[in-house]
Symmetry: C2
Subunit: 388 residues, 2 copies
């Protein structure tokens, strides 16, 4: 039996999209005088080929040559999903008893002239230092850091990608809404998380990084999530739902009170929501990352609580494989950043306060348009008081 | 306000567990003549301190010195969750406008003598090659690869850890059962995945790597998961549910038929299940990884379909942060592996066949006991025919 007998895997874009992406890399290689590229990030591999095995937690590499299609080097178990994809003409299998770098070095020696310089995606968290050292020792080629080309291309979304992100936003809102409705006496954080995951997935989402479901005083501690705590009357309930369609993400965060909000909670929620409004108003082509951040941050500064808003205003969103759901590694809205905003950029705007008693975050996923920005997520932008 | 005003975070073990783990590292440093260790893996950091921020997708490092407690260097947003943990006495914040390695190098220069050798976890996927190069250039210290000590300690589970894994197994079975019950006419893969995630999470699970829900011919392609395909009459439905409690994992896979199984499907399922039985029987203290693998693989060889079982028989399980849910990087059951099996080792045994028409996998999570092995997951070990 041949590969052709196995199921074909759907790719998110037509073949010419991937052909253009490959051409972009090969043009960059020509310009830099590189004979080969070694790509390791699952996001980069997805952008180049549409390949999306869940097996990216073990070693995988795509070798790009000056001509011809990508060569994938990965575990045998990924062979079918690779070859079911028309953008990966060649797959070299690593057996579970093989050393991955030995196999990769053999493929490179076979296909790349020993004097040709090789660019490697050394900023990727999927290439370990030990693997890099072994690879360098095994190859005669000059090796250099390579990166930035794929990241720049990913920054601007096309109409199809924006369509996927609108779908993802709809799924994220479904997840959020299901979690809000699960806030009832007797429920635990896990019940809310279960409802959120169910709502987003049934609406059409693929797998994402862990969303956030936190209650009570723990909401004051950033980057925690559900851990079986019971929801108690008076608790703040922090919900950040996420979804993706064809790996293109959207997220939305809201805060609720199990019961009635205090006057102080209403005041603080108002500040965070106003800062979100200001960021959305300020986000448009031609302005800069730093200017939008300042517009958002000014609301906290005026209220005298800037010390509790201790991170960037927004991070770029798009392709993600867990634990990443964002493109914040290469684009965000943050203090003094001179990056110029362009149509097609997409962000998750996340103003928040994390105080000892509780925390609040209200967020939206947005896309920069020709004139301003489109809010992708559609849910009442308010502190939600739940009968409890 | 001080850190003490924020919520405390629950750790999975009593303080003395972490004290012993730190002492183990400091003894190893003394033996190797190392003045400091740099730890990057979220699993290693969790083992050492109990710290579990979901923010491990950006740079974080724990510096271990010859005396005193761990020093964490991470983004400002992780400060509360770090300092709410009594095992992290010192936290140095990286602002969102800082370069992470510049901050780390400053901390090392301040606390480690310039002539002292430093061991770094260079096998971790969370330290990039570019970060490593920058760090080496910024420090006068001799730097060396370090690893293996934490991995060896993680290999053998204690009674508390096994208790968490039994709980995780119960949650995974709840997720599996919910997905099986969601197989009804009109359902999609997403509906099954939604039910699985809901079932496991409501039962008590924390977040895991993506579980697997695949239908029809796509089940023949390893490492795919749900992608909105409708379940059709006669489809194979492949379900692999996962859960964790306090980050200690268990998984279980079963296959179903939407309707009645064919004679050929029953025969193949029988082969995979028999291979699983043989592996469980063979797994006991004193035998080797390779011997157990051979016992499992022999069933496929006898049936003449060994070519469709193209990976290791099992991988170790325990601590995981997505995209990892396993400890297979340092322990597995695979051909010719001489590793001796010991009580307290835990595995996910995953015999499978991936054929062009469909695939099958039946799996169990198990713990090696003094005399044999305990199956942690409890669900009928059979091909499930669902009225459809």
């Amino acid at each position: 039996m041949t590969q052709g007998d196995y199921a074909r895997m759907e790719t998110a874009f037509a073949r010419d999209y991937y052909v253009r992406n490959l051409a972009l890399l090969q043009a960059d290689m020509a310009e830099r005088g590189l004979g080969a590229l070694l790509i390791f990030d699952p996001e980069s591999i997805y952008w180049l080929t549409g390949y999306r095995s869940i097996g990216y937690f073990t070693f995988q590499c795509v070798l790009v040559l000056r001509e011809g299609g990508p060569v994938m080097i990965s575990r045998r178990v990924n062979q079918q999903v690779a070859l079911c994809n028309e953008n990966i003409p060649i797959f070299v299998a690593i057996e579970d008893t093989d050393d991955a770098i030995t196999i990769l070095a053999g493929v490179v020696r076979e296909r790349v002239a020993p004097s040709a310089a090789i660019g490697a995606e050394t900023g990727s968290t999927y290439l370990t230092v030990q693997a890099w050292k072994t690879l360098k020792n095994a190859l005669p080629n000059p090796m250099q850091d390579w990166g930035g080309v794929i990241e720049r291309a990913r920054t601007i979304k096309n109409a199809t990608q924006l369509g996927y992100m609108r779908e993802a936003a709809r799924c994220a809102v479904a997840g959020l809404d299901a979690a809000v409705k699960a806030i009832v006496p007797g429920a635990s954080e896990n019940d809310l998380a279960a409802a959120m995951l169910h709502g987003a997935t049934a609406a059409g989402s693929e797998y994402t990084r862990v969303p956030l479901v936190v209650t009570g005083q723990a909401t004051g501690v950033c980057f925690t999530t559900w851990q079986r705590r019971p929801v108690k009357r008076g608790d703040v309930v922090f919900l950040e739902a996420a979804s993706n369609v064809n790996r293109y993400h959207a997220m939305i965060a809201r805060c609720c009170i199990a019961g009635e909000a205090t006057a102080e909670q209403k005041r603080l929620a108002g500040i965070v929501i106003e800062s979100l409004d200001r960021a959305i108003e300020a986000l448009k082509p031609g302005t800069t990352s730093g200017v939008v951040d300042a517009a958002c941050r000014a609301v906290f500064e005026k209220a005298g609580i800037a010390t509790y808003f201790d991170h960037r205003t927004a991070y770029a969103i798009g392709i993600g494989f867990p634990p990443n759901w964002a493109e914040g590694r290469f684009l965000s809205l943050r203090p003094d950043d001179p990056t110029v905003i362009e149509p097609g950029m997409t962000f998750h705007i996340v103003p928040s306060v994390f105080m000892p008693e509780f925390g609040f975050c209200f967020s939206e996923s947005v896309a920069v348009t020709d004139a301003g920005c489109e809010v992708l997520t559609d849910y009442p932008r308010e502190l939600i008081e739940v009968a409890f």
